[in-house]
């Protein structure tokens, strides 16, 4: 078997067992990057030298017995909104084109301490605002299954890198579906943890009350292993939760007997691609055959999640992005007259269209006279959505549904109509509003040859149930990865 086909956990086992070294693994993946990256463009920055040096150090530590965890020696990609000391971090924006962080985000630090090797920074939608990775200032990422299609977004670079075997696994971030949707489009497994599980320290904020960092990997076992490393309490993030149980790999058992699984009928109706619906129904059937109790139910309020999300996320973004002013770091406009003109020109030239659109909407809904009607209304809606999930989890252990209404759209189609693009988040955003864990697991290929993802949603802090259901389903599917040897050409 080709090294590149290994999952992260299997690769680490082989490295620890002495079958191959962390340096060999890193060279193999750097080789893959040099042969296909021009085509897929998964990265904003690749740090070859640094990765090789780190691989040598990790290999020494493995030999010395200082590193023995499940990710020791595994080369990874990190989404470009997660700060890495000494490594350029752009958020795929012009405004941070030259920003070199002086510290490493807690999540990335945890990965490095576990012996993961950082290959570089994965492309994304600018400031994580988008569903296609087409809003990146540094060019679009292409879907490794078919380069005429988008990889999804905003963690499109992370997911495409894993699918194209340009990384064994990756970190993404998810504010409204940004890990799960591109995972679905790229045929990889992505998990958005319960809010507060992974520290946001060093994650460049978009919608702070919704943002979570999470793993993107080839399978459920890798996601569980990554999450175990990432789920640490951090005093530097005031919303970080001290969790008692973080033994996520313990949930990797193929046993769903008696598990109560609910399928929201309102997730299976109008707007859902028939092939995606079939995949969800097939997944339900397979889990039922394994002993799960599956039934449909009315989740309710589904159509209110997107408008509430865009009000809240844009409001928070307008505040979070006010720090980008051309004073202390990043881009500054060339010609200006006075301070205010410098701010305005810097921001107008430094931000892309979608980012400006959301900053303006956010400023508007927070402005006096509109605050109650829009912002507070959205926060009240959020409370109702949370209650709807609370009611569902009285009856069910996990919720099963589609990750996205369709498979990956063609490049260039989505940005023509932003509102239409926003509607693609219908099955993912409510999970962020309610702070819940959700995971996309690849399940089937459509007639265009594009992967389909199904989503498991759990109650807060119930990642183990999500992982158990996902793992059980995964055992029944065929292993499918795109053929990058063709390089899409």
């Amino acid at each position: 078997m080709d090294i590149l086909d290994l999952t992260a956990v299997r690769l680490s086992e082989k490295i620890k067992g002495g079958e191959l070294s962390a340096v060999e693994a890193t060279k193999a993946v750097l080789g893959q990057i040099s042969s296909v990256e021009d085509y897929y463009h998964c990265y904003v920055t690749v740090e070859e030298e640094k990765a090789l040096r780190q691989a040598e150090q990790v290999q020494e530590k493995i030999k010395a017995g200082e590193l023995s965890g499940p990710l020791a020696g595994v080369p990874v990609a990190i989404k470009d909104n997660i700060c890495t000391e000494g490594m350029r971090t752009t958020c795929s924006s012009r405004i941070l084109y030259n920003f070199i962080p002086t510290y490493t985000a807690t999540a990335a630090k945890a990965l490095k301490e576990a012996g993961a090797i950082v290959l570089g920074k994965a492309n994304m939608d600018e400031f994580a605002m988008g569903s296609t990775t087409e809003t990146s200032y540094y060019g679009v990422t292409k879907n490794p299954w078919n380069p005429e299609h988008v990889p999804g977004g905003s963690s499109g670079g992370s997911c495409a890198a894993v699918a194209a075997r340009e990384a064994f696994c990756a970190l993404g971030s998810d504010t409204g579906g940004s890990i799960r949707q591109p995972s679905s489009f790229c045929g990889v497994t992505g998990l958005k943890p319960t809010y507060g599980t992974v520290s946001r320290y060093g994650l460049i904020a978009y919608g702070s009350s919704l943002d979570q960092i999470g793993p993107v990997a080839k399978d459920v076992a890798d996601c569980a292993a990554l999450l175990e490393v990432l789920a640490v309490h951090d005093p530097k993030d005031s919303t970080s939760v001290r969790r008692e149980e973080t033994d996520f790999t313990a949930a990797l058992v193929q046993d769903v007997k008696g598990m109560r699984i609910g399928i929201p009928k309102d997730y299976m109706g109008e707007g859902l691609d028939p092939q995606v619906r079939e995949a969800v129904e097939q997944a339900a059937k397979v889990l039922e055959e394994q002993g799960a109790i599956v039934e449909g139910f009315d989740l309710s309020l589904v159509e209110y999640a997107i408008p509430a999300y865009y009000v809240i996320a844009s409001a928070e973004a307008s505040s979070n992005l006010s720090r980008f002013d051309g004073v202390k770091y990043g881009y500054r406009t060339e010609d200006y007259e006075g301070l205010h003109n410098m701010y305005k020109k810097t921001r107008s030239e430094g931000f892309g269209e979608e980012v400006k659109r959301r900053i303006m909407l956010g400023s508007f809904v927070l402005s006096s006279g509109y605050y109650d009607a829009y912002y507070l209304k959205a926060l009240r809606t959020k409370a109702l959505i949370k209650q709807a999930f609370d009611r569902a989890f009285e009856k069910y252990d996990v919720i099963l549904g589609p990750t996205a209404p369709t498979t990956a759209p063609r490049l260039g189609e989505s940005l023509k109509d932003p509102l239409q693009m926003y509607l693609g988040d219908i099955y993912t955003v409510s999970v962020n509003l309610a702070g819940l864990p959700g995971m996309s697991v690849p399940y089937g290929i459509d007639d265009k040859g594009l992967p389909i993802g199904v989503q498991f949603i759990g109650d807060a802090f119930q990642e183990n149930k999500v992982i158990r259901a996902g793992y059980a389903l995964e055992q029944t599917r065929e292993w499918q990865m795109p053929d990058t040897k063709k390089g899409g050409r």
Partner: protein, 97 residues
């Protein structure tokens, strides 16, 4: 479109957002925002009078810790990111006449 964004509103939003828009961008922004607000107005169908605004899903409280310096002096590294610097400080246009 039910929500018609006036020139005054878009200018005001521009000030709040610290963005400078060309005439063409302004027209587009008016259209985009109006359309988005029409969509957001869907929330008005919902009776939310019994729901408290929820900013955080879990009860979060202020988290305190001792204010202890844990990082070393990073002045040079931080200043290296500055678009303009002078004598070890960030340089900005004159703000007080």
């Amino acid at each position: 479109m039910a929500n018609v964004i006036s020139d005054e509103t878009i200018d005001y939003v521009g000030i709040l957002s610290k963005l400078e828009l060309s005439e063409q961008e302004k027209e587009q922004a008016k259209k985009d925002m109006g359309r988005m607000l029409d969509y957001i107005d869907k929330l008005n169908e919902l009776d939310t009078s019994q729901a408290e605004p929820m900013s955080h899903v879990f009860p979060v409280h202020n988290v305190f810790r001792e204010d202890v310096v844990t990082n070393e002096d990073l002045r040079e590294e931080i200043l290296a990111n500055a678009p303009e610097q002078k004598e070890g400080q960030f340089e900005v246009p004159k703000t007080v006449e």
